[in-house]
């Protein structure tokens, strides 16, 4: 039995080795350790090899001790161990193609896929037949926006979205503009919410789709989805929402909220990366022109073999999230308030971007006036954070979301996004708050703008020279 175990580890390490990055010394170490262990186990099965195994784990390693704290839950989330347990068998032994109709490998994979479909449907109150698996929320958004627009192109030529949507929605709209569609990009108010009257006024007789995200990934604002859905249903316009940051975190029901299309992402809800889903309503039927042609899998809307391990992972992630939603939400509210209160108590001139009343607590975007965002991120090097501005992206322009809520340029450059998740502890939050306060104070000491403020000069009255 141990011999078989050893052979299995040997097989795993060989494939691990093939897929490992050459530069990653941590993984190389781990792999060599597992390999020596595997060869020892397969040649001489003996319990003394437990020492070798233990050395390969975290306790024995010195350079693994200091990894930064992870506070960037909007970028991605770690895989929940229960999800890993659910999907491992489908990576190792249950490897059939779910579309193989003729043998047990296919049947068991198909059964797993259908179970996962039901789990995803349950968390949003949909029917399993209305779920289409895709490679992620980006692909789901593309299918929803481009697919619906192109299908109904003969009679309808107008789409409505907001200025704070995710890049994939905005880019799809831009591509449609090239094809001759009209797009209205709704502005948002200072609070981050859209004005419902603006939306009603923007809907034309030839509007086919309204696309508004449920929870914004940069400032965490929750849009009034039920009201938007009601308006769209009354005007007979399809309503699509990018719920990548919202599924499994806030309660959603596609029937109560009159949602016709919804994009779901796996790796934002403690599931695997590379998988997502698209909810497409069947009553009344929403039709899309498929982007990916092929054998007609997934109701003809997304051809291609459905990746069973990833899909099972997504289903398990949704199942776990469904059970733990209220607990997680309460806990996140507590630690989110803890961080904000701590920072606001110690530091003046800290602005929260987005109305806290209508925000998801797991995403807090703070602007620290008179401090440069990049320098603060560099200073907080043992906390993994993200900047709200696009300094971290290629252009030097600040984030379009912050510009849309009316943040001044200087504030947009000084914003930091704190993302809390299921595994964020109170100690991590306390540590982050302390370090943040300490470094902001330090950076403000060095800041000439801060000096001027202390002396009472009004910064806005200064004429900076153009260069």
């Amino acid at each position: 039995m141990l011999q078989r175990f050893g052979i299995r580890i040997a097989f795993m390490t060989r494939s691990l080795k093939d897929s490992v990055l050459q530069k990653d010394s941590t993984r190389r170490y781990l792999v060599t350790q597992l390999e020596t262990t595997a060869s020892r186990l397969s040649s001489e099965p003996s319990v003394s090899n437990m020492e070798e195994l233990k050395k390969a784990t975290r306790e024995g390693r010195v350079d693994l001790e200091y990894r930064p704290l992870y506070l960037d839950a909007q970028a991605t989330t770690p895989l929940d161990p229960r999800v890993l347990d659910a999907l491992m068998p489908y990576l190792i032994s249950l490897y059939g193609n779910p579309h193989s109709r003729t043998h047990a490998y296919g049947w068991e994979s198909e059964a797993a896929t259908e179970t996962a479909r039901k789990q995803v449907a349950n968390i949003i109150g949909a029917d399993p037949k209305e779920i289409v698996f895709t490679s992620g929320a980006t692909e789901s958004n593309n299918i929803a926006v481009k697919g619906v627009a192109r299908f109904y192109r003969e009679k309808k030529r107008h789409l409505i979205t907001t200025q704070t949507e995710h890049k994939c929605v905005l880019d799809s709209c831009r591509a449609l503009e090239n094809e001759g569609f009209d797009i209205t990009y709704l502005p948002i108010q200072k609070s981050g919410l859209i004005n419902l009257k603006d939306l009603e006024a923007a809907i034309r007789p030839d509007t086919v789709l309204v696309s508004i995200m449920t929870v914004n990934n940069e400032i965490g604002i929750k849009q009034p989805i039920s009201e938007i859905g009601r308006i769209c249903r009354a005007k007979k316009v399809f309503f699509h929402t990018d719920a990548a940051q919202a599924v499994g975190k806030i309660p959603l029901d596609v029937n109560e909220m009159n949602i016709d299309l919804m994009s779901i992402s796996g790796h934002k809800i403690y599931g695997p990366k590379g998988i997502g889903a698209l909810y497409i309503r069947r009553r009344p039927r929403v039709r899309v022109e498929p982007l990916q042609s092929g054998g007609g899998q997934e109701r003809g809307m997304r051809s291609g073999t459905v990746p069973t391990p990833l899909v099972v992972g997504l289903g398990a992630a949704c199942h776990v999230a469904h059970k733990e939603m209220s607990y997680d939400h309460a806990r996140l509210e507590h630690i989110s308030r803890r961080l904000v209160d701590k920072i606001m108590a110690e530091l003046p001139d800290v602005i929260r971007n987005g109305d806290p009343e209508h925000s998801y607590p797991g995403c807090v975007n703070l602007s620290f006036a008179y401090v440069e965002g990049e320098s603060l991120l560099m200073a907080l090097k043992d906390v993994a954070l993200s900047s709200g501005s696009a300094c971290t992206s290629a252009s030097l322009e600040p984030s379009y979301v912050l510009r849309a809520i009316g943040a001044d340029e200087d504030l947009a450059h000084s914003s930091i996004r704190f993302g809390f998740g299921r595994y964020t502890t109170e100690e991590e939050v306390d540590y982050t708050a302390e370090k943040c306060i300490q470094h902001v104070k330090r950076l403000r000491e060095m800041s000439p703008l801060w000096e001027m403020i202390q002396e009472g000069i009004d910064i806005k009255s200064i004429q900076w020279t153009q260069h």
Partner: protein
């Protein structure tokens, strides 16, 4: 009849079989009088217009088979394929009864779907549909890239 309707309720047998099981024999009979006649124009994928004299109660798929029109009908009108996919002229689209869910589900899988698409085997001719134009799509699910044309069976 009770047995068939029972099987229909359980979705084992197609719902359009509301009578003795037909395989196109009815469509081979000519219309008995002018009141029964329903004129249909089939437009093939090459654009050729073929006017056809059908009668009330004809199934469009079997009517097409009678007159040699290239509508495949692989599953013989049992709502299991999409090879009889046609585009219905817009003015007549609303005169057809609403599609059932199983037909809508199949239409989702049909290639080159448009807003006015229907399955030909679900269209039963009535006098209201006189003069209807049915256009065939450029290809069906069984797209024969080698030019093969399957014969009706």
């Amino acid at each position: 009849m009770n047995f068939i309707s029972h099987l229909q309720k359980r979705n084992i047998v197609a719902s359009n079989l509301n009578g003795p099981l037909q395989h196109g024999e009815y469509e081979w009979q000519d219309p008995k009088s002018e009141e029964e006649v329903v004129n249909v124009v089939f437009v093939t994928k090459d654009g050729k217009r073929i006017p056809v004299r059908g009668k009330i109660g004809d199934n469009v798929l079997y009517l097409a088979h009678r007159y040699g029109i290239e509508m495949e009908g692989a599953c013989e009108a049992s709502l299991a394929c999409t090879t009889c996919h046609v585009y219905v002229q817009n003015e007549y689209f609303d005169k057809l009864p609403a599609a059932e869910e199983s037909e809508e589900d199949l239409l989702d899988m049909a290639p080159f779907l448009k807003e006015n698409s229907r399955l030909g085997c679900q269209i039963i001719l009535t006098k209201e549909l006189d003069g209807i134009e049915l256009r065939l799509p450029t290809a069906t699910r069984n797209f024969y890239v080698d030019g093969h044309v399957p014969q009706p069976h």
